[in-house]
């Protein structure tokens, strides 16, 4: 995470900036259609705080280790989209939400406790 912009999407390991809400939704739809077992993860942060950066790094690591390339990470900066805090019921940051696969899971913190993240995301090490 070398660039200054945290508001972006990582698609199959690649970071793609999210430009708007609608576009993100389109992408989500695309995902659902294209890959049934793909993971959609949303990371809510508030600016580039140490916790946000740590969370993003930790998340990327876990995803690479456990999900290979079947995942999308959307990073949402609440400072830029304050309305989303209300719409998505976000209080603590960073908050990670597993949109897919269902059920929706919610994890808070900088994701440094890997064991807990795995439990929270229902992840088992890929064999």
């Amino acid at each position: 995470m070398s660039t200054g912009d945290t508001d972006r999407t990582i698609r199959r390991g690649e970071i793609v900036p999210t430009t708007s809400n609608t576009k993100r939704k389109e992408k989500k739809k695309e995902n659902e259609e294209s890959a049934g077992d793909a993971w959609i993860l949303r990371l809510y942060v508030a600016g580039q705080t140490p916790n946000s950066l740590t969370a993003f790094e930790n998340l990327k690591k876990i995803c690479e280790n456990y999900l290979e390339s079947k995942y999308t990470i959307e990073v949402i900066d609440l400072l830029k989209h304050p309305q989303l805090a209300k719409d998505h019921q976000i209080i603590a940051v960073p908050t990670l939400i597993r949109k897919l696969p269902t059920p929706v899971k919610k994890i808070i913190g900088n994701l440094s406790d890997t064991e807990k993240v795995l439990v929270g995301l229902d992840l088992r090490k890929v064999t």
Partner: protein, 573 residues
């Protein structure tokens, strides 16, 4: 520049406040809640925290033009809207006008895994967005402590809460934050630690099956405030806090007199009646005529074209009207013309505070010249001495501030007590009263009569005499009573006494006449005797005069004879 300086100094003396809009609260806090700072309201479940917070926000919008934010952690928006519609708050309308924004924050711990450090920036952003949405000046958070059930890391939570309160202050919004009451502390999680300025607790107690709500200002930094526990009510138009006592006794005393409608009573009161704005207690046993006095008083007031408000706890309006007709007091025309208003309700219908609030509300709306409560003793089942006294104190103070004359009847329980004993419960109340009239049943000679006396009238000379109280179809009469060797006489004994006195008087008159006649005859006798004596004396006088004459002539003759003898003897030669 200079002006600004003095403003700042004045501001330091008392912190700036904004009116909460909650009835009575602004009175006891002397102005409202600290402006631009958070206040904490704490209490147990169902004590009215949410209502307090909501009323603060809604009144801010409707009464003071300050937009507001209401954040609910516990209730859903739709539930809130529904609950407050019943209180007459149309939240939808305010939301539509962009004056109010409601937000429900859900925290479900079961869904949340904590995986390292975090902060509550999301909440701040969220609150900030809400405040900006309507340009809010007031914020209510109900109840912030829900956060503690949502997050496990208390250390983070506490530092974030501290930050939140500072943040609210920085934003310059006046906030009400509610908290759950704790066992040892004011709030369960010690929120009071973070709120330096104003902490209020609400309480909901049930005594004798009747619930009483109380409000207490625990602390209010930089401000004078009432320190008592104040009862408050939740009625159809929100919270009303009732200061038990007015802060001071500053009402103006009237020098105007008003007649009682009972002419003899007016005479006993120096022919002037009571002072306007007096509080008058009429106490007595059952059936002694308390209500009748009250009704007569009210009738007299209505005749003077004064409005009257009559609170009755024992009878219905129509029953009282009918009963009073039997003693020649017809109140019905006054009801029809709108001068007289009844409020008949069972005392147990609701709590003391509720009664008081209803009374104050009605008095405020109707603006009567006379208020009567019949009887106050019926309030005792729903409150103890101190509570009833407090309530009456508040009622009397309120009435006095408006120069309303208060008439209170009280039933004495002690049937066997003599005519002069005083009830202990009445002592508590009587000190509040300016005047105290007492009615007693007096039994004797196989009948029961009523005795009436004035125990006290503040600031007025009054009769100390006991009177017999008679109720007839011509109204109330007060009669003199007789005090003889057998005690005070009432009823037929009094009439008998009156009769025998008349006999006595007649008898005495005859005696005097007789004595006068005797004296006259004696005088005549005496005069006759004097005449007789005079006659006798005159006779004796005549006889004596004759005798005296004879003696003188005899003496002369003798002298002549002696001379002749001497001549013959030639004595001188």
């Amino acid at each position: 520049m200079k002006k600004n300086k003095t403003d700042a100094i004045e501001g330091m003396a008392e912190i700036e406040k904004i009116p909460s809009g909650i009835k009575g609260l602004d009175e006891i806090t002397r102005g409202g809640l600290p402006k631009g700072r958070p206040s904490l309201v704490s209490g147990g479940p169902g004590c009215g925290k949410t209502l307090f917070a909501m009323e603060f926000v809604v009144r801010g919008i409707t009464d003071y033009g300050e937009p507001g934010v209401f954040v609910a952690f516990e209730e859903k928006i739709d539930d809130l809207k529904m609950n407050f519609r019943s209180m007459g708050f149309d939240l939808d309308e305010l939301v539509r006008k962009k004056k109010l924004v409601l937000d429900h924050i859900t925290i479900e711990r079961s869904e949340i895994e904590e995986t390292g450090e975090y902060d509550l920036e999301g909440l701040f952003i969220r609150l900030g967005a809400l405040i900006d949405e309507v340009g809010a000046k007031r914020v209510a958070i109900d109840t912030l402590e829900a956060l503690f059930s949502g997050f496990a890391n208390e250390a983070i939570l506490r530092s974030e809460l501290r930050r939140l309160f500072l943040w609210l202050k920085d934003r310059g919004v006046t906030a009400v934050v509610t908290g759950e009451r704790g066992d040892q502390s004011i709030t369960k999680y010690g929120l009071e630690e973070y709120v330096a300025d104003c902490v209020i607790t609400l309480d909901h107690r049930v005594t004798n099956q009747i619930a009483t709500r109380r409000l207490h200002i625990v602390k209010y930094r930089g401000s004078i405030h009432g320190t008592d526990e104040y009862p408050f009510l939740i009625s159809e138009d929100g919270i009303s806090v009732l200061p038990i006592t007015s802060m001071s006794l500053t009402h103006k005393a009237s020098v105007e007199h008003i007649f009682t409608g009972i002419s003899r009573l007016d005479m006993m009161l120096g022919e002037k009646g009571f002072y306007r704005g007096s509080s008058i207690l009429i106490s007595g046993q059952a059936g002694t005529g308390k209500t009748s006095i009250a009704a007569t008083f009210i009738d007299a007031a209505c005749r003077r074209n004064e409005k009257c408000l009559f609170f009755i706890f024992e009878e219905s309006e129509s029953q009282l009207l009918r009963n009073m007709k039997s003693i020649g007091v017809n109140l019905e025309p006054w009801v029809k013309s709108g001068l007289l208003k009844f409020h008949a309700v069972r005392p147990t219908a609701y709590s003391l505070e509720m009664h008081l609030s209803v009374m104050l509300k009605l008095i405020g709306e109707f603006k009567p010249g006379v208020v009567a409560v019949d009887p106050i003793s019926n309030l005792y089942p729903i409150g103890d001495d101190i509570q009833v006294r407090s309530m009456l104190m508040r009622l009397i103070d309120f009435a006095k501030s408006l120069q309303i004359t208060g008439l209170f009847t009280s039933l004495s329980n002690d049937v066997d007590a003599g005519a002069y004993t005083v009830e202990p419960t009445e002592i508590h109340v009587s000190s509040l009263m300016d005047a105290w009239l007492i009615l007693k049943n007096v039994e004797g000679n196989g009948e029961r009569n009523r005795a009436f006396s004035i125990i006290k009238v503040r600031g007025m000379a009054h009769s100390n005499q006991l009177r017999e109280f008679i109720l007839s179809d011509k109204g109330i009469q007060l009669m003199d009573v007789y005090k003889g060797s057998e005690g005070v006489l009432f009823g037929s004994a009094r009439m008998a006494q009156e009769g025998s006195e008349i006999d006595d008087r007649l008898h005495k008159n005859e005696e005097i006449e007789r004595k006068k006649r005797e004296l006259e005859s004696r005088r005549k006798l005496m005069e006759n005797e004097i005449a007789l004596i005079r006659e006798r004396f005159a006779r004796e006088e005549d006889e004596m005069k004759i005798l005296i004459g004879q003696d003188i002539s005899r003496e002369k003759a003798t002298a002549k004879t002696k001379k002749e003898i001497a001549t013959q003897r030639h004595v001188d030669r």
